[in-house]
């Protein structure tokens, strides 16, 4: 039976990337999930807010940016459902093609998981940690205070409208915009801590290794440090929003809490099952990733992925692509060496030879570049750029 209590507001937009934990504090005592929530009365303020999210969800459902592949949707929704238990019936998971690290949960049960997060999570346990955190905000029901904190609700509704417009324009994933939004949307440290705590509870109850919750943040931090400008933006934002401590602190708190929960039987990582579930989409997600042109970040991501799959020729090809596109100092040589290494591995795409040809041509190694271009045309005779590539080859 659905409890007839007033539905509280969960404002999860953009919270994942910016949430924080209070140092040294950890909730104690056993946590029990609440009963299912009822939809608020449409005439109430909360009901009105739900309506706004409902309309946004209707738009999202039609979006060309949704990843519609049934297998991947079933996989992520299945994981969210296992974590959410009986609340599964109130959740709707949407996979959105946006190459940034984020997930969000709206008060009406609309959960968005961005492709940049799917690409970055190393295993099922890490995805479970993030989904668990978002479900934690949903279950905790303490977020009505966020709405109460905002002095003018009409202004807040206006702001939400601007937020949605910004989200449509694709700007929400950018650090700068997230920073402004964070000051308005962010949960408090206490709320973030509770969501993390609930997330850890949910993942360990489902047998997932809790250490992976901290690991995904360590990975993100490594990526941020890999790009000088991103790190500068990240560091300056930490100063600007001093109430939200940096990732380092959050990562530490998650590790501490994981130890406190200490379920010895929770050891599942699920790296292979995760890679298999993502396999069909990795090429598309990497295309979007490269378009961000955050070369340093992508190189760190690729290094990490290669450690888990050293014989993966596609990853090595992407590494070459990053060097080729950056094109600084000895990047072209590094690109060439990556392409040549990739040739010997499994799964390298035909485009490898086109890129190799382009780099060789830039390095004025005409003869070798022609060999690479010929190989590309052999593998992909109807390539979209075949006509142009042929002009690089001498006429027979």
């Amino acid at each position: 039976m659905i409890a007839p209590r007033r539905r509280r507001i969960v404002l999860g937009c953009g919270c994942l990337a910016l949430g924080a934990l209070a140092p040294g504090a950890a909730a104690s005592g056993a946590w029990h999930p609440p009963a299912r929530f009822a939809r608020p009365d449409e005439a109430s303020e909360e009901g009105g807010l739900w309506g706004m999210f409902d309309r946004e969800e209707a738009r999202l459902r039609r979006s060309a940016f949704l990843v519609r592949d049934k297998a991947l949707n079933d996989y992520v929704t299945g994981l969210a459902c296992r974590l959410a238990g009986e609340h599964c019936a109130d959740l709707r998971v949407y996979l959105v093609r946006t190459p940034h690290f984020n997930a969000s949960m709206a008060p009406n049960g609309m959960m968005q998981v961005w492709s940049g997060l799917l690409l970055r999570a190393a295993n099922e346990a890490q995805l479970a940690a993030v989904l668990g955190h978002e479900i934690g905000h949903f279950l905790a029901r303490h977020s009505l205070e966020r709405l109460r904190d905002v002095k003018s609700r009409a202004a807040f509704a206006n702001f939400l409208a601007i937020f949605f417009a910004a989200a449509r324009a694709g700007n929400v994933g950018q650090f700068a915009q997230l920073g402004v939004l964070a000051s308005l949307f962010a949960f408090t440290r206490e709320q973030e801590r509770e969501a993390d705590r609930i997330g850890l509870e949910l993942m360990t109850r489902n047998g997932y290794a809790p250490g992976e919750a901290g690991a995904i943040w360590s990975q993100l931090l490594e990526e941020i440090k890999g790009d000088a400008v991103t790190y500068e933006e990240y560091a300056s934002r930490s100063v600007l929003f001093a109430t939200h401590p940096p990732i380092e602190e959050r990562q530490q708190m998650l590790s501490d809490t994981a130890r406190e929960i200490g379920r010895a039987e929770a050891t599942r990582v699920g790296a292979d099952s995760y890679r298999a579930a993502l396999a069909r989409h990795r090429t598309e997600f990497f295309g979007d990733e490269l378009r961000r042109r955050r070369y340093g970040e992508t190189l760190v991501l690729l290094e990490r992925m290669r450690k888990a799959a050293a014989d993966d020729g596609e990853l090595e090809f992407y590494r070459g692509e990053v060097f080729r596109m950056r094109g600084e100092k000895d990047d072209l040589d590094q690109a060439l060496s990556a392409y040549r290494h990739a040739e010997a591995l499994r799964g390298a795409p035909p485009e490898l030879f086109r890129s190799e040809g382009l780099v060789l041509r830039q390095l004025n190694q005409e003869t070798e570049s022609r060999i690479a271009f010929r190989r590309y045309l052999e593998l992909k005779p109807a390539a979209e750029d075949a006509e142009l590539i042929r002009t690089y080859l001498p006429r027979d």
Binding site: R62, S63, A64, F65, R97, T98, V150, K151, S152, A155, F156, N158, F159, I162, R168, A169, G170, N171, G173, Q174, A176, Q177, V180, S183, L184, V229, E232, E233, D288, R291, R293, M325, G327, R354, L358, R361, Q362, E384, D385, E387, L388, T391
Partner: protein, 192 residues
């Protein structure tokens, strides 16, 4: 920044995006003192205060068809300036770039807003009396999920990039304007 501050900033941003429109032609029109094209008189130039990047023309409106002229771009210059609020330097044109790299340069600017981009065709082509290239592409615009099609002509002449792109919604507008957009772009001549 408080809530009121954020709303005010957004309002200022909206109001400051006012722009002027100037009808182009009919006849020979000079673009940024660098090239001339022949306009059928159905194009309007958009002058956006503070708007960087190429010169923008449209017939039915910015959402429905856009002809963009990137002309005489020098080695080291970007196609479009960096978006506000970032210290990241946008990718720059290099005189030694191959057509594939120029397509990637355009792709980087066209997808800055999160739109998708797919190269459909890339072939050699004369442009502005030079040996250049022509490419076709498809996109999904992030802002409104609209599927777009586009084409572009480009050439590097005396170390400077000349690139003219056209894009419009795949439904109706691309086909509607394609012949006249092609004719306009193909009439381009670099000013001596």
């Amino acid at each position: 920044m408080g809530l009121r501050g954020a709303i005010l900033a957004a309002a200022v941003l909206l109001l400051s995006s006012c722009f002027a429109m100037v009808r182009m032609g009919p006849g020979t029109v000079t673009v940024r003192d660098a090239i001339t094209v022949s306009s059928d008189g159905g194009w309007n130039r958009l002058d956006v205060p503070g708007g960087g990047g190429g010169e923008v023309w449209t017939s039915d409106g910015l959402s429905l068809d856009v002809l963009t002229f990137f002309v005489a771009i020098k080695d080291g210059d970007p196609l479009v300036p960096a978006p506000m609020g970032t210290r990241r330097t946008p990718p720059a044109f290099r005189a030694a770039m191959l057509p594939h790299q120029i397509v990637e340069l355009f792709e980087a600017s066209a997808t800055q807003d999160g739109s998708t981009f797919r190269l459909e065709r890339l072939a050699p082509s004369a442009f502005a009396s030079a040996d250049g290239f022509r490419f076709e592409f498809s996109m999904t615009r992030k802002r409104d999920d609209v599927a777009l099609r586009g084409f572009a002509y480009g050439a590097v002449v005396k170390g400077k990039l000349y690139l003219v792109t056209f894009r419009a919604p795949r439904i109706h507008y691309y086909a509607k304007h394609l012949p006249r957009a092609e004719a306009t772009v193909r009439s381009a001549l670099i000013k001596p």
